[in-house]
Amino acid sequence: MEQILANGIYLGAQYAMIALGLTLIFALMNVLNFAHGQMYVLGGFVTYTFYGQLGLPFVLALTMSCVTLAVVGALIEKFLFGPVIRRSAREESTMLLAAGLAFFFDAVILLVFGEKQRGVPKIVDGVFNWDFRVIMPYDRILICVLAILSIVAFILFMQYSKTGRALRALAQDRTAAQLMGVNVERYSMIGFALGAMLAGLVGGLLVTITGINLGMGGPTSIKAFMMVMIGGAGVISGAIAGGIILGFMEAIGLAVLSQYGDITYLMIFVSLMIFLAIRPQGLMGKPWG
């Protein structure tokens, strides 16, 4: 039981961070970013290069991941999503762009970083073992704490900084925010960069535990979509709730249903569909997102 709880918290924290970036971008631009998982992978590879290959300190490598992804995110918004959103008749058209970007990142990652699974040296050694009731390696505990701290920092930033307030205003009502004097184009770019940066941050954190390979992108995006659906699209607290719920569902399902074989995910998917049929806007979402 304690182990399930520990696994749930660990999974939930990392999932919540992945979902945060996705939901932020969605809230600001109404873009369903299929390339989010690929951005996460890119972040992992940047940390791998600086920390694993060049031997720089982990914190520096992590910072490089964040910076790289923030720049990439800003450029993507400015030169790709921005213009397409302005000119397309239906805003869903950005899905094609996002999917194209996902393919593009896949191709670039394959060419630059290769096809192999990559890993970095452990940041902390040792395993926390409480009488075989809770077993958790120290590096996981550290990453879990770091993830929670980042989430808290992000919430504080969104609540109290000027940028954060502008972003929230933008997410709530684009036109009203514009009328109130918010520079929409500038903050869209900042928001996208921030969302991408979060993906890079998770990638950099998790590479120390799971390693990274170019196949992780697509499935990560889909998982992030599920979390966002559970919590409600475009709502920050919803993304966090969705991440934690999915983390716990996995931890509990894998522990309880293991003897039945392959049905944990089937159960998760089916219960998700039932849940959404009852509550279409997710836990905390506005009706019709």
């Binding site: 299929f34 397309s88 239906r90 659906m229 998700l272 569909m273």
Partner: protein, 328 residues
């Protein structure tokens, strides 16, 4: 009966002549027999994409068409291998079964809109894949293999369609079958879009509440459209199973569902023939880039992004005004 203008009749004639006469002739002349399968794939995938396009028409982003294609493939494969039915009989059954599943699933989830529907439909493909892995009737992970080729159809001793297995080369037969089905599908789509149902769909796409307020049973229409959409998916999937003579849980995956949606976007959401063009460009484009080796995906994705920047409303938005009759 629909009234087509003179120009449209000519266009239709040219199109039919192109796919049924010119393409086989060109392939025979150039010796590129591999294009038969590529074009067969395009035809079948565009049938499934047409279903997705129809969902767009009522304002739903369907990223779950792979699920129905997989269902269709399995239904046909199971009926052919276990019940010994003729493939031609299983083809409509596969479509109908997919439509039936769509009705069951659609009742709850069609209430969702926008990205919510998109995301839940994305999960559908995985649900079907996982179910196929877990069920005994689908033969689980081992898949269904060695499915016999489609047999002959004869009425009163007159052979309408010869036995595929006895043919020198079944590629051409599959090509004709796929094109025939594609023409039927798009004719039905065109008819539907220009019917009363089409007008209702357009009004739902713009505003469901408004449509409901003028007495349209939107829940019913949504289910009907979703069922038609899934019927197309099931047909496309069943044909593929018969060409590959095998079906696996991985025959249609999330990537396929996403591709069906992309085909519609690329072709243009406002045009009935958008999905056909989109499928042709996306699928054939990948094949043509075969020469570029390891840069294939890079070039492919770059072109896709570029296309989006230049023509954010789809390739067909380039068309001349005189052809812009269908769609909105």
């Amino acid at each position: 009966m629909l009234k087509l203008t003179m120009g449209q009749w000519i266009g239709l004639g040219v199109f039919l002549a192109a796919i049924f006469i010119a393409v086989p002739a060109l392939i025979a002349a150039s010796g590129r027999t591999d294009f038969y399968f590529t074009l067969t794939s395009v035809a079948l995938l565009s049938i499934a994409s047409a279903g997705v396009w129809l969902m767009f028409y009522i304002g739903r982003i369907n990223i779950g068409q792979g699920a129905f294609a997989l269902i269709g493939a399995y239904v046909s494969a199971i009926l052919v291998t276990k019940a010994g039915m003729s493939f031609w009989l299983t083809l409509p059954i596969a479509g109908l079964f997919a439509a039936f599943v769509a009705v069951l699933i659609g009742l709850p989830i069609l209430r969702l809109r926008g990205v919510y529907f998109a995301m839940i439909s994305l999960v559908l493909t995985q649900v079907v894949t996982l179910t196929a892995l877990a069920l005994p009737i689908t033969n689980g992970a081992k898949g269904i293999t060695s499915i016999p080729l489609p047999g002959a159809i004869s009425i009163f001793g007159l052979t309408l369609v010869p036995d595929f297995a006895s043919m020198e080369n079944s590629r051409l037969a599959f090509y004709y079958t796929a094109c025939f089905l594609m023409v039927l599908t798009f004719a039905a789509m065109y008819r539907l879009v220009n019917s009363r149902l089409g007008h209702i769909c357009r009004s739902m796409q713009q505003n469901e509440e408004l449509a409901a307020s003028i007495g349209i049973n939107i829940a019913y229409i949504r289910i009907v459209v979703f069922a038609i959409s899934s019927f197309f998916g099931g047909i496309g999937g069943a044909m593929f199973g018969s060409i590959a003579q095998s079906v696996y849980p991985s025959t249609f995956v999330v990537t396929d569902s996403v591709n069906f949606m992309l085909n519609c976007f690329l072709g243009g959401l406002g045009y009935v023939f958008g999905p056909m063009l989109g499928t042709l460009v996306l699928y054939f484009g990948w094949d043509l880039l075969f020469e570029s080796g390891k840069y294939q995906l890079l070039i492919y994705s770059s072109l896709l992004i570029a296309a989006m920047l230049v023509l954010p409303n789809g390739l067909l938005s380039l068309r001349l005004d005189m052809f812009r009759r269908s769609g909105k």
